[in-house]
Amino acid sequence: MIFLLLIYAYIFIINVPGLIKRKEWKELAAFSFLFVIAFALGIMYVLDIPIPSPMKGLQHFFVDILGIEYPK
């Protein structure tokens, strides 16, 4: 947990002051949007909350619903 916070804090410190100084607001917005997603994923991973894997969804969609599958 501590490591996670450390790493994310580090990512934040490295990018944000530079962005603010260079007044790139659009980049700052994009950065913080992705940073929130990353942070949420990180927390869910560390607290072992099951993160739905997109590939499982696709597999379910193709195999079970559409039935397109290669025979074993």
């Binding site: 790493i7 994310y8 990512i11 490295i14 990018n15 530079g18 962005l19 790139e24 659009k26 980049e27 700052l28 994009a30 950065f31 992705l34 940073f35 997603i37 990353a38 994923l41 990180g42 869910m44 991973y45 993160i51 894997s53 997109p54 590939m55 499982k56 696709l58 597999q59 969609f61 193709f62 195999v63 397109i68 599958e69 290669y70 025979p71």
Partner: protein, 368 residues
């Protein structure tokens, strides 16, 4: 106005292509499980099928000089549809990137360092890729020929060292497998090593003089495919029928090298070569994804997005599959089906549309 200011020369494009395709020398183990001793045929067929498509990428990139894939989509398919297709591409990039990162992790967790936690490999590997992306595409293209040399050296030296244990009668019962398996094999090969080169649509934008881009793409493709063929031939000749039971056939073949008391335990050297190749491939993927996302958001520089996207990729890579078996099974079915249109349909389609509508009409600005 494309984000990437860096310029790469055509010769470097050749090295980029060859190194990129060779990076997936580790991944042909998916096809080995299905097409046992006919893997080399499947690779050849895959190469023949995907070569025209990949050359169409080069032509498309030449038609839109200095523009990357997201901009091409916007111009060709209009603003709204272009955005959706670009998001579809970004999803493909992030998924394939997490597969590759996970592959490196699995390589280390099953073969070389068993007791270290899985997430550690992913984090350190992605951090290094992020460092490479921060340095810019020019640095990556500059070291691409070094990486190609390392890859070729690893492939050829293992082939030579295993020559006396090779039994070439293992190839013999040609055309023994049912056609559906061969088709699946071709589909996998034309997707994993060759289909992933759709990534280069993003990078070809910054070619400084693109008149013989097509020629270089073709040669790069040939070198990459040749090294894949050598790996497939070596595995089948040395392991014969047993190559289907190992998790990674090429790694077991390397562990069989036993010449004198010195050249016996080589698997770490090949591990190094594979890691470097996968590093090259993953950093290109990460670079492409970051540029695509920042182009989608309309940013000026892609630099701030590198680390958050890398963090997201690490988490996705850690959670997308449970085990190597799960990984192999899903990529052999859903993985290649969902990405087939991306590779085979959309680029040629946009090339066709561009020809019909006589794009790129740059002088009157972007009217779409």
């Amino acid at each position: 106005m494309s984000i990437e200011k860096g310029k790469i020369s055509c010769q470097q494009l050749l090295f980029l292509f060859a190194g990129f395709i060779e990076g997936s020398a580790l991944l042909i183990d998916f096809t080995v499980g299905i097409t046992e001793h006919q893997t080399w045929m499947v690779i050849l067929a895959g190469l023949i099928i995907s070569t025209p498509v990949i050359l169409s990428y080069a032509v498309l990139a030449k038609k839109f000089p200095g523009m990357n894939l997201v901009q091409i989509n916007d111009m060709v398919y209009g603003r709204f549809l272009g955005k959706i297709i670009s998001i579809y591409y970004i999803f493909f990039f992030s998924m394939t990137l997490s597969f590759n990162i996970r592959d490196v992790g699995e390589l280390y967790i099953t073969f070389l360092m068993q007791d270290t936690p899985f997430i550690f490999f992913l984090i350190v590997f992605t951090v290094t890729c992020a460092y490479a992306v921060i340095k810019g595409i020019e640095v990556l293209t500059r070291i691409s020929h070094l990486i190609l040399v390392i890859g070729l050296f690893a492939v050829i030296s293992t082939f030579i060292l295993l020559i006396d244990q090779m039994d070439f009668s293992n190839f013999l019962p040609f055309f023994e497998l049912p056609f559906i398996k061969i088709f699946q094999g071709i589909h996998i090969v034309s997707m994993i090593p060759f289909g992933e080169t759709v990534v280069f649509l993003m990078i070809m934008g910054c070619l400084n003089k693109s008149e013989h881009a097509v020629k270089n793409t073709f040669f790069g493709l040939l070198i990459g495919a040749a090294s894949l063929l050598i790996v497939a031939v070596r595995n089948t000749a040395v392991l014969g029928k047993t190559q289907t039971i190992w998790t990674s056939a090429s790694f077991q073949a390397i562990r069989l090298i036993n010449i004198g008391t010195v050249l016996t335990r080589m698997d770490f050297l090949i591990g190094i070569a594979l890691t470097i190749l996968m590093f090259f491939k993953c950093s290109i993927f990460l670079y492409v994804m970051v540029v695509a996302v920042s182009q989608l958001f309309g940013l000026k520089t892609y630099e701030p997005l590198v680390l958050p996207l890398a963090a997201i990729e690490v988490i996705i890579a850690a959670t997308v599959f449970q085990s190597p078996v799960d990984h192999a099974m899903i990529t052999q079915n859903a993985g290649i089906i969902y990405s087939a249109p991306l590779v085979f349909v959309i680029p040629p389609l946009s090339l066709l549309i561009a020809k019909i509508r006589g794009l790129p009409k740059l002088e009157r600005g972007k009217e779409t």
